[in-house]
């Protein structure tokens, strides 16, 4: 089953009285357990598409199904619960809660899903170990480097065992070496946890790692390349 299905999805932003189309007639299937990269120039609509898939924004038209659930008719609370259980987020600026330690940041989504304490502890410790930060569990984000913060963000995104992890330009604020490391980590996590990663990026390194590559221009999907197709071409 596809992880995400978008049918005839469109989104227009209002700039004062003027409507600015961000996405037009998007038809897209994001396959389960794949590393999908959405690429395109700045302003092409990558982030808007990611926001719609992540259920933090609503389309003006069309239909979105995430993890088998049509999400448009869900109430705000139901959408919040849905995101907490099924969708992980990795942000360009890491967006960790500065008052919480690395451990607590990873633990937070599990508190929202009311995961039992013992299971929570085991899962957080495993994830922090998996991203190589077991020894920095007690550090707050201000005491971590950019790369370390993004590792914590990856662990947090994976904490509730979501069906889908969305990453918006996850390497944009990192140097190329750290970016490469983070990319490798995300790829490793995606494979180990068999979860769908959808990444918006114009970083060629990230695009090269994609199972499925979605190219978007002026709010329209202009190309979808599947790994098997690309393999055939190669």
């Amino acid at each position: 089953m596809d992880s995400v299905v978008l049918k005839q999805v469109s989104k227009t932003y209002r700039l004062d009285a003027i409507g600015v189309p961000a996405l037009t007639d998007i038809n897209l299937e994001i396959r389960a357990s794949r590393f999908t990269v959405i690429s395109g120039a700045s302003g092409s609509g990558k982030t808007t598409l990611l926001n719609l898939i992540g259920c933090i924004d609503k389309p003006d038209g069309g239909e979105i199904v995430v993890a088998g659930q049509p999400v448009q008719r869900l109430s705000d609370d139901a959408l919040s619960d849905f995101r907490a259980r099924h969708i992980g987020f990795i942000f360009q600026n890491f967006n960790l809660l500065p008052v919480l330690t690395a451990y607590e940041n990873v633990e937070y989504p599990l508190l929202l899903t009311r995961t039992p304490a013992a299971e929570r502890k085991e899962r957080v410790e495993n994830l922090l170990a998996a991203v190589g930060l077991a020894n920095k569990a007690g550090n707050r984000p201000g005491e971590l480097s950019g790369g370390e913060r993004q590792r914590v963000a990856i662990a947090r995104a994976l904490a509730p065992a979501p069906r889908l992890v969305l990453a918006d330009e996850p390497t944009a604020n990192l140097d190329s070496h750290t970016g490469q490391t983070i990319l490798a980590l995300m790829r490793q996590m995606q494979r180990e946890h068999r979860v769908s990663f959808v990444i918006s990026s114009h970083d060629p390194q990230v695009q090269a790692e994609a199972d499925d590559a979605v190219k978007i221009r002026d709010g329209r999907v202009v190309a979808i390349e599947r790994l098997e197709d690309r393999g055939a071409q190669r």
Partner: protein, 461 residues
């Protein structure tokens, strides 16, 4: 758990802002408590004064309070000694009582005929031994010792007058009243007295000054039979009553003397039976029992029981005045706390917009965001209230030990005491009030935070 932990850490994150907000709340709580404690001091001071003189309750003949001052003979209580005895031995009342004592109030004219001056006065005859006991009542623990009752251990014709009476009757010198200006001799427009009358007056003026340094006055009053009666009184002291209107008419004398003046050889009566209780809170129970007792055992004469608040309207007016000022201050302080906390929370919401977007994105409901900010408001309110209470108690303790005094109406100077410790209603009111105001202040910013669009919040720089 996490909500409180995050709220606490967020408050610590902006220490300076949190401290400023706390300071505003602490000052607010302190102001409310110290003023509340001060007004309690006024209330208790006045109450103590009234209770020490007249008791908590008075049994009077019906109508005396409104009309009897002009005719004590008609409104006198017959068989008052039986009533006093019945009250004292009543098993329900006895455990509540400290003193039950009769008194007789009358209006009259006091004259110093040697000086050719007189004035209307308001005289009160009391049982001095009972009055001494009544003045020991100090349920609120006012520091200091009670002034000695001047009539104690004096002869049956002894009297104490107000310094205003002494001034008008030109008795300041023999009574050694300080700061008592005497008028220059007024020019008499009348003809000189006949020689025999002048000689009689001169003779009368000689004993005016008693050997003990006091003075003699004559007190003229209407007797029960309607005829004028005169009592010669030995004034042993002039005491300042602190309220000019009272000081200018005050005469205190022994009950027996007052009764002789009004009732002569007839069976003496009194105008009131004062009932002093151990505690003011016993008034409703004692009054109810007294009403039953009087109805059951003394139904032959119409009697009523009045409490000290009814008898002294000034007490209620003063409490009302202070309650109004207290309410005004509390509202003002509440408004300041409201705007301070609201401003702090609004700033926090703006600063943490991206965090709000992140929390919403990873699945926290709108109600969770609202709860988080209201929790911060609640904690600010609770911490501010507790610190405010502690500091107010410390300041009150310092003031109470400073030796400052104030003079309640009708009483001598008493030590200034701020009642905060033990005033549970005041304390809980201030604490709950500040917490409620703080939570209400946080409500609007919290609502705004919860209503944020997630995408816009995440875009916030």
């Amino acid at each position: 758990m996490k909500t409180f932990a995050i709220a606490t850490r967020n408050l610590l994150r902006n220490r300076r802002r949190s401290l400023t907000t706390l300071l505003a709340m602490i000052l607010g709580v302190q102001t409310v408590l110290l003023f509340g404690g001060y007004s309690r001091n006024i209330t208790y001071g006045l109450q103590t004064g009234f209770v020490q003189v007249g008791g908590h309750l008075q049994i009077q003949r019906q109508g005396y309070f409104l009309y009897g001052a002009g005719n004590p003979a008609v409104y006198g209580i017959a068989d008052y000694e039986k009533i006093v005895a019945a009250v004292k031995r009543d098993p329900e009342l006895a455990p509540m009582l400290t003193v039950v004592t009769p008194s007789l109030q009358l209006g009259g004219i006091a004259g110093n005929f040697a000086a050719g001056v007189s004035r209307t006065v308001f005289a009160r005859g009391t049982v001095v031994e009972d009055q001494i006991f009544m003045r020991l009542w100090n349920d609120y623990g006012f520091p200091g010792t009670q002034r000695r009752l001047a009539l104690a251990n004096t002869g049956p014709d002894a009297a104490v007058i107000g310094t205003g009476v002494a001034r008008v009757l030109q008795l300041c010198e023999p009574l050694q009243v300080k700061n008592c200006p005497q008028p220059e001799a007024a020019e008499s427009s009348s003809k000189p007295l006949p020689a025999d009358i002048a000689a009689l007056a001169a003779q009368e003026s000689k004993p005016s000054n008693t050997p003990t340094g006091g003075a003699r006055i004559e007190l003229l009053a209407a007797s029960a039979r309607g005829a004028p009666n005169v009592a010669a009184l030995n004034v042993i002291k002039a005491e300042n009553q602190n309220v000019k209107e009272l000081d200018d008419v005050f005469v205190a004398l022994h009950l027996a003397q007052a009764q002789r003046l009004v009732y002569g050889a007839d069976t003496p009566r009194v105008t009131a039976i004062g009932v002093q209780l151990k505690h003011t809170r016993q008034i409703p129970a004692a009054k109810a029992r007294l009403d039953r007792l009087l109805t059951e055992q003394f139904k032959d004469q119409p009697l009523e029981v009045l409490d000290f608040e009814t008898l002294n309207p000034f007490y209620g007016q003063t409490i009302g005045l202070f309650a109004t000022i207290f309410g005004f201050i509390a509202v003002l302080i509440g408004a300041i706390v409201l705007f301070t906390v609201s401003n702090t929370m609004s700033t926090a919401v703006v600063e943490r917009t991206t965090e709000i977007g992140t929390l919403r994105a990873i699945g926290l409901r709108r109600s969770g965001i609202r709860r988080l900010f209201m929790c911060e408001g609640l904690m600010l309110g609770a911490i501010g209230a507790v610190l405010g209470v502690l500091i107010a108690m410390a300041i009150a303790a310092i003031i109470n030990r400073s030796g400052l005094t104030w003079t309640p109406p009708g009483r001598e100077a008493v030590p200034l005491a701020i009642y905060v410790w033990g005033e549970l209603r005041l304390l809980f009111g201030a604490v709950i009030g500040v917490i409620v105001v703080a939570v209400l202040s946080a409500w609007w910013p919290a609502r705004r935070a919860a209503g944020m669009n997630i995408v816009e919040a995440l875009r916030h720089v």
